[in-house]
């Protein structure tokens, strides 16, 4: 199939992009790495969009640090997330996740902002930022907003980004000295979307468990977290299974996904206890 775009313009700055978005009368679509949007257009799942290309907006790229957090620009490509020393040191969950994401060409072009704004419930990054307790930054012509990851993902492909806003980046708390972060997933083939996946963070304040590919959005498994805080892994597995309502599709049934989520949590917990994270 041939894509049917309603137009294309390259933004020279964030301000420029926001103005074009405001002027597009609802038909504007922000194009970053294009790894989901272009595929959707090529299947005509999305047609007539006016593409606003932010890929050259320098102010949205790069990783920087403050005393207690990392600021990651929305345009940072997956491959950079995987190799960036600050991220590898302070938010290793994100760099671990990159190994599971698609293939090299996609990792080179796809951006973390694009992945978060797209909010595919089977994708790794949304679950990672949920587990990390990150804050997402959006900007519109009326100013900026900070949104907690817990509030950002709303439904399948739906986020708290309002019309006229662009996701500019995110802030991730730096891992504490004793903090452990692991991601576990199972996919039919390497690079495929996971049949189910689990992110586990163990920090001084307690455990954080998030899951992907088990519902319409990434899920923070609070009961499982509480059980892990009590040191009860099996209790956490049981709680987890009750907290999710996975879909059935051609790849796997809900029952399989629920079972798999439990296996993965058990494995993640074992890795943390084994100090392998």
């Amino acid at each position: 199939m041939k894509a049917s775009a309603g137009g294309y313009a390259r933004a020279s700055s964030l301000r420029d992009a926001l103005e074009m978005l405001a002027a597009s009368d609802g038909s504007g679509r922000v194009l970053a790495g294009g790894q989901s949007l272009i595929a959707a257009m090529n299947l005509r799942l999305s047609a007539g969009d006016f593409l606003i290309d932010i890929s050259r907006v320098g102010e949205l790229a790069g990783v920087s640090e403050t005393a207690d957090s990392l600021r990651i620009g929305a345009l940072t490509p997956h491959a950079e997330i995987g190799r960036n020393p600050l991220i590898r040191h302070h938010a290793t969950l994100l760099s671990q996740a990159v190994e599971f994401i698609a293939h090299a060409a996609i990792r080179n072009r796809g951006t973390i902002g694009g992945a978060l704004a797209h909010a595919d419930p089977a994708a790794e990054f949304p679950a990672c930022v949920l587990a990390l307790g990150a804050t997402l930054h959006v900007e519109g012509l009326n100013g900026t907003r900070d949104i907690r990851a817990e509030d950002f993902f709303q439904d399948i492909f739906e986020t708290a980004i309002e019309d006229g806003e662009i996701l500019t980046g995110l802030s991730v708390p730096k891992a504490g000295a004793d903090e452990r972060q692991v991601i576990e997933e199972v996919a039919r083939r390497s690079g495929d979307y996971a049949l189910a996946g689990v992110c586990l963070v163990k920090r001084t304040g307690g455990h954080r468990v998030s899951l992907f590919s088990v519902g319409p959005k990434p899920i923070l498994a609070k009961n499982a977290m509480a059980a892990l805080d009590r040191g009860d892994v099996e209790g956490a597995v049981e709680a987890l299974k009750a907290e999710i309502d996975p879909p059935s599709d051609t790849q796997a049934s809900a029952a399989y996904r629920r079972h798999l989520a439990g296996v993965l949590l058990r494995r993640a917990a074992a890795r943390i206890e084994g100090g392998n994270a």
Partner: protein, 793 residues
């Protein structure tokens, strides 16, 4: 003079060596010419509106809005096309009872599967044609679909084609010996239900055709990604009412075929019809979604089978009840009964036993038609046979290698006829198995498996012997009335500078046919392969032939090339003898020069002979034949098919918590007779294994209960990818066929034939201590966990 194949130091010893592929550099540099690369003046693009329903009456098609789209030129319905294009009926006389209704290039009043073309939109660009197609308003009235295979013949199931009377397309039962008695008295009987998933070939280049109709010359030219240019020439001529001589099919580079591109597709014939009506070049390139919904599917079988064995492990009987559903029509002109027929012909293939019964039941359903795809029927038959043999071995407490050794035809048993009435000229099951065990170090692997088992690591070893049908004679299609050539030809010509051009009726789809032909001609003639230019894929230029299917390129096309090259060699030597006033029998051609055969002393380069023949023919004796072009054709006649054999092994690990299978290593030893190019053969085997592994672990076309297609992209139809593939060790035993000078049999399908069974047996070997077994492909993680009883709901 024959060729001393056994002597590696013989002159011009190109056969048996890895030589570079003449087309490799061109393709790597992006200089290939695929159909979509060809752009003609006034060319238009056609896009098909396809049925979104499995079964629906077409009440009305409203094209008004579509016609208003900029660039849209014309819209065609089934009735429009039917005015210039006759429908076809895909039956063959030797498949007794096979029935199928007439099929139109575009559905006329009823759509019978999701993806069937119901209208065509022609525009100046593909994008504009798609814009138009989206606006075609079809008034469908949904009809009850036939979606389930096993209930297709039940009285309460609607009849898909009322004119056919019922949903039975074909059935065949073969029985040899006293099967009932053998089962009644056997020491052990093991039975199982096998399922092979519906899948498809997924060519890298999608189906493509560009047709130009020149009314001034009354000439049709079709650039087509096809395996069988002459067959397509015949089909277009017949159904568009043209003389065959006025249809030229050109097949330049083809990006993979795997059997997908050897069939007649309604949308491709419609494209030719539209080109004729509109009198301008018309291009159709399938997109990936169209590929999944309209390329032929295959392998959709459910089988109940059992085996009877004696205490000594001897196979006493096999009984196979195979069902397959072929979609709404039998596919033209090869028909969709062949796959089931092959299951009947191939089950039990490696084994010497007496009592055999097999039945195939082929039914219609409202899904994409199925037809021949790489290793037609073989993966199914091998899975049934080798699955049962392993289960019987387990029941007897016998090693899977031992039970095979006790039952395979002895290597000196040939010629022999199998219980399925297949005639084998010469096979090497035991030598192949011995070589396989050595390559894999079977005993050490078993020890490793046992050690790891103690640590809770569940690994499995699976073995699968197989036979492969290659080099088909007219017994495959011709005797049934299909105009599909089992014969193939080659013309070899020497030009004035001593260079050689060979034109062959077999075709190149990326598998290396042209490399194979270049080295066969080079050796037959006595020049280096680099000096031989190969031309394939043009019905106006090459000798008439069948093209590439059923692993016939090397065995049939290669032999024709060898004989043509030898004939040209004789012609050249006749001229050389006159020029050199020498005895022709004492001359030879080596590395592009005439030499003294005994001493190897150079007498004259071919350029000199070419110069004299073409420009100074006056200096040669009057009446001396100087035919530097020779054509030979070849057809097999002693055996209906040249069977090959082989054996594969898989070593893998099952994660019993997630159900994920990790392939660790794969081995294949096969016997395709004379190996012409070891690297090409090894890569054919490897590629074939990978396609088989896809069927075993990943690939599956999903439909819902209403016949709705559920997956149609590379994201949800999982082809095997490099990261999941194991290292593969390939070995060969060579038993050349005595039917030809070359001695080559086919190798293109052996890998696909055996690998699914090897994987199935390996998984079951890993699961056996836990009392679990899987027999339904693909072996998804979920199916494995369900077999283990890990999932309760």
């Amino acid at each position: 003079m024959s060729i001393q194949f056994g002597n590696p130091d013989r002159p011009n010893s190109y056969i048996g060596k890895t030589v570079p592929r003449p087309n490799a550099r061109r393709l790597v540099q992006g200089r290939g010419v695929y159909v979509d690369d060809i752009v003609l003046p006034r060319m238009a693009h056609v896009v098909f509106v396809r049925s979104p329903f499995a079964h629906a009456k077409i009440n009305r098609i409203d094209a008004e809005e579509a016609m208003s789209v900029k660039g849209v030129l014309r819209v065609f319905t089934g009735k429009d096309i039917a005015e210039v294009c006759t429908p076809w009926v895909a039956v063959l006389a030797h498949l007794k009872g096979l029935k199928s209704p007439p099929e139109h290039a575009i559905a006329v009043d009823r759509a019978c599967w999701v993806g069937e073309p119901v209208a065509a939109v022609v525009a100046t660009s593909r994008a504009a044609a798609e814009d138009g197609a989206a606006l075609i308003d079809v008034d469908y009235e949904q009809l009850d679909p036939v979606a389930d295979m096993m209930s297709a013949l039940d009285p309460q199931t609607p009849v898909l084609h009322p004119d056919m009377g019922d949903n039975l397309a074909f059935e065949r039962q073969h029985e040899q010996g006293d099967v009932e008695e053998a089962f009644r008295t056997a020491h052990k009987v093991v039975s199982a239900r096998f399922v092979t998933g519906r899948h498809t070939g997924v060519t890298l280049e999608p189906r493509s055709i560009l047709v130009d109709w020149n009314p001034a010359e009354e000439q049709m030219t079709a650039w087509h990604a096809t395996q069988a240019p002459h067959m397509i020439q015949t089909v277009l001529a017949k159904h568009l009412d043209l003389p065959e001589s006025r249809v030229r099919v050109i097949c330049e580079d083809v990006g993979g075929s795997y059997g997908i591109k050897v069939h007649v597709y309604p949308d491709e014939v419609a494209t030719a019809a539209i080109a004729k009506i509109m009198k301008r070049p018309m291009k159709f390139i399938a997109d990936r979604l169209e590929s999944f919904s309209s390329d032929i599917h295959a392998r959709d079988h459910e089988i109940e089978a059992k085996i009877a064995v004696g205490e000594d492990g001897k196979i006493l009987a096999m009984d196979v009840d195979d069902w397959t559903a072929i979609g709404a029509y039998s596919v033209y002109p090869r028909t969709s009964a062949i796959e089931g027929n092959q299951v009947v012909n191939l089950c039990g293939g490696p084994y010497d036993f007496a009592n055999y019964r097999a039945k195939t039941t082929v039914v219609f359903q409202n899904k994409t038609p199925t037809c021949q795809y790489r290793a037609v029927g073989h993966p199914i038959a091998v899975a049934i046979t080798e699955g049962l043999v392993d289960m019987a071995a387990a029941e007897l407490g016998m090693d899977p290698v031992e039970i095979r050794r006790r039952n395979m035809f002895k290597d000196d048993a040939y010629p022999v006829t199998s219980p399925a009435n297949m005639r084998f000229e010469g096979l090497s099951h035991h030598a192949s198995l011995d070589k396989l065990l050595e390559l894999m170090d079977y005993e050490a692997l078993r020890s490793e498996q046992a050690e790891l088992r103690k640590k809770g690591i569940h690994r499995g070893i699976g073995i699968a012997s197989f036979i492969e049908l290659t080099n088909p004679s007219p017994f495959m299609y011709g005797i049934g009335g299909a105009r599909i050539s089992a014969q193939d030809g080659c013309t070899v010509r020497m030009d004035p500078d001593g260079s050689v051009v060979a034109l062959s009726g077999v075709t190149e789809q990326g598998q290396g046919t042209e490399a194979m032909l270049s080295q066969v001609v080079a050796e037959g003639l006595g020049v280096s392969p680099a000096r031989v230019r190969i031309i394939t894929g043009d019905t106006q230029v090459t000798p008439y032939g069948g093209g590439t299917w059923a692993s016939r390129g090397a065995g049939i096309g290669g032999e024709a090339a060898l004989q043509a090259a030898r004939a040209l060699r004789d012609s050249i030597l006749e001229v050389a003898a006159a020029m050199l006033q020498a005895d022709q029998t004492k001359l030879d051609i080596r590395d592009g020069a005439i030499v003294d055969a005994a001493s190897g002393e150079a007498r004259m380069p071919l350029e000199e002979l070419g110069r004299i023949v073409y420009f100074r023919g006056d200096t040669l004796p009057k009446g001396l034949p100087r035919e530097l072009v020779q054509t030979r054709h070849y057809i097999t006649s002693d055996y209906p098919f040249a069977f090959t054999n082989g054996v594969q092994a898989s070593y893998l690990e099952v994660d019993t918590q997630t159900g994920i299978v990790r392939l660790l290593k794969h081995w294949c030893v096969e016997d395709c007779g004379r190996v012409i190019n070891p690297l090409l053969v090894d890569e054919q085997i490897r590629g074939g294994i990978v396609q088989g592994l896809g069927g075993a672990l990943f690939e599956e076309i999903h439909y819902d209960a209403d016949g709705q297609l559920l997956n149609g992209s590379m994201a949800d139809y999982l082809v095997p990818m490099a990261a999941e593939m194991p290292d593969m060790i390939i070995g060969h035993v060579e038993t050349p066929t005595q039917e030809s000078l070359l001695g080559a049999k086919g190798a293109g399908e052996a890998g696909t034939a055996g690998s699914p069974a090897a994987v199935m047996n390996a998984i079951n070997d890993a699961l056996r201590p836990m009392g679990a077994q899987v027999t339904e492909m693909p072996f998804t993680p979920e199916r494995i966990l369900r077999a283990l009883g890990s999932l309760k709901d």
